[in-house]
């Protein structure tokens, strides 16, 4: 077991080295990405700042709390961009070109390999910037319990994983449909639901976001736990959702591979 895990960690290490030297080849792109994410952060912070000019509460959160939420969302986005986004972008292309064969013959999990193979070193600076923003927001809020903060960060990491799982769920149908244009847009549109506090949504929609389409767990729920206090139920809820979604994705992936290998000659 540990040897297996170590093997994957070493493999990931070599992905990292490779992507760093690749990223530096495209210098302008690197700078553009840094600036783009700064703009992204500014737009989100300004959006809520302006809204709080006209109200002091939103979904039961103060401005200080919403900053913690927004910066958390940026951290999740940066983590996702660095670890998964590039791979998810390529995945439908690989599937349609039939390039998957190369990865299926390798003695490692194809889902793992294809999901994390390309570490986006050019988003790495943004990961640092987003982390700094989280620290700033937490400091600005003040008076938070260190354990609570630690749990918040762990929940955000889980949130990144959920974000990835939801996205890949929308990509896997490409195995059958051969086009991801519509699905991908849909995934992005749905993702926008998670950029606002989940408390603002009415009962049924909120229930969906907390269960079958657990987008609330990417950032909003972690922040909710941070401000509302950690309960065992919350941890159980999160673990159930992560495990359920993960098992679903693995099952869905294997189903798709079966379709892929029986379709190709």
């Amino acid at each position: 077991m540990t040897r297996g895990v170590m093997r994957y960690i070493r493999l990931y290490g070599s992905f990292l080295r490779f992507s760093f030297s690749k990223a530096m080849e495209f210098r302008l792109d690197f700078y553009f990405r840094v600036v783009m994410d700064m703009v992204f952060y500014a737009v989100h912070l300004l959006f809520f700042t302006i809204i709080y000019d006209h109200t002091s509460m939103l979904g039961g959160w103060t401005l200080d709390q919403i900053y913690v939420f927004v910066c958390g969302a940026m951290l999740v986005d940066a983590l996702h961009m660095t670890i998964f986004a590039n791979n998810l972008w390529w995945l439908p292309i690989y599937i349609n070109r039939g390039d998957l064969d190369y990865y299926l013959v390798r003695p490692v999990s194809s889902l793992f390999f294809l999901s994390v193979r390309e570490f986006a070193a050019n988003s790495f600076l943004n990961l640092i910037a987003a982390s700094a923003l989280v620290v700033w927001a937490l400091g600005r809020h003040g008076g938070l319990d260190p354990v609570g903060i630690l749990v918040y960060l762990l929940f955000l990491v889980a949130g990144t994983f959920i974000h990835y799982l939801v996205r890949i769920t929308f990509i896997i149908p490409v195995f059958w449909l051969h086009s991801n244009r519509g699905l991908d847009e849909m995934a992005w549109t749905l993702h926008r639901l998670s950029e606002r506090p989940h408390q603002i949504y009415p009962g049924p929609l909120r229930w969906i976001l907390l269960s079958v389409l657990p987008l609330a767990f990417t950032v909003s729920y972690p922040a909710h736990v941070l401000f509302g206090g950690l309960t065992w139920q919350a941890v159980a809820h999160l673990l159930t959702v992560v495990a359920g979604l993960f098992l679903f994705v693995v099952w869905f992936w294997n189903l798709a591979l079966k379709a892929y290998s029986s379709a190709s000659s």
Binding site: L28, R181, L205
Partner: protein, 270 residues
């Protein structure tokens, strides 16, 4: 470029766009509904927390109507805004074809751009009519034929401005391998500063006064306010004036980027 070529390119592109399959339309509906849902519940929460009946000059119904109009007009103004055809022409080398043909690349692309607007036009029409039927139109919103005509004029000019902006932005592809991030950047900035995320009347007055000199408000906010009958003819003319100046400025920058870029263009694989 003759009218014959122009219309032929427009119609070819329109036919291509309309041939997309069902998922394209399902997606358009989904996107519209989702965006509206998010805005609706956000403002429901704000109006509830605030307990006021007007925020930034909008009643709750007015606010909802603002988002419907802004989302729909944005489709017309931005077209396929994720489209990077110009950048792709550059780094895939298909620009070569237009360098050889005796016609203007800009006009060719503009014709394609107009053709690609046809689905957006249909969506706007369908959703817009549906919205007018179902939604309450508050008393302070006056949509009449004059306001529609004035708003559409602004939309046409804003659309041209959005098109011209592609040249300086995507022209960077002459030097960089990837301008996708620049495009996203512009898109994000336009959404906030143009009034798609929030009506600009919510911004602090100083910020509003400053923004009025930039091209952004004229993409979404000003056309919607014009549609709602809240912009006088004088203000409308001023808006057209500012937009025209920006068209010239952005066009000039685009031309410069293009001239310099062409000097380094190799048509891929020399």
């Amino acid at each position: 470029m003759r009218a014959g070529l122009f219309t032929r390119v427009v119609s070819l592109e329109a036919r291509k766009q309309m041939s997309y399959r069902v998922d394209f339309w399902i997606n358009a509906v989904m996107g519209f509904v989702a965006e509206l849902t998010i805005a609706y519940f956000l403002w429901a929460a704000i109006f509830q927390a605030r307990g006021a009946d007007r925020i930034g000059g909008f009643t709750f119904e007015g606010m909802a109507l603002y988002y419907v109009a802004a989302i729909l007009l944005a489709k017309l103004v931005r077209g396929q805004s994720k489209d990077l055809t110009i950048a792709r022409d550059i780094y895939e080398g298909s620009l070569t074809r237009y360098l050889i043909y005796p016609c203007s690349y800009v006009l060719f692309k503009y014709a394609e751009h107009l053709g690609s607007l046809v689905p957006a036009l249909l969506q706007t029409l369908v959703f817009g009519v549906m919205a007018l039927f179902w939604m309450q139109i508050p008393g302070d919103v006056q949509i009449d034929s004059l306001s529609v005509a004035m708003a559409l004029t602004l939309v046409v000019v804003a659309n041209m401005l959005a098109f011209l902006l592609r040249f300086p932005i995507q022209g960077v592809a002459f030097w960089a391998d990837n301008v996708w991030s620049l495009n996203v950047m512009l898109r994000l900035a336009t959404e906030l500063l143009g009034g798609l995320l929030l009506p600009l009347s919510l911004f602090p007055p100083a910020a509003q006064a400053f923004l009025a000199w930039l091209p952004f408000p004229y993409f979404f906010y000003v056309p919607v306010q014009t549609l709602f009958g809240r912009v006088s003819v004088g203000e409308w003319l001023a808006a057209l004036g500012v937009m025209s100046v920006w068209c010239v400025v952005i066009g000039a920058i685009g031309a410069m980027v293009w001239r310099r870029g062409h000097r380094v263009y190799t048509g891929v694989g020399i």
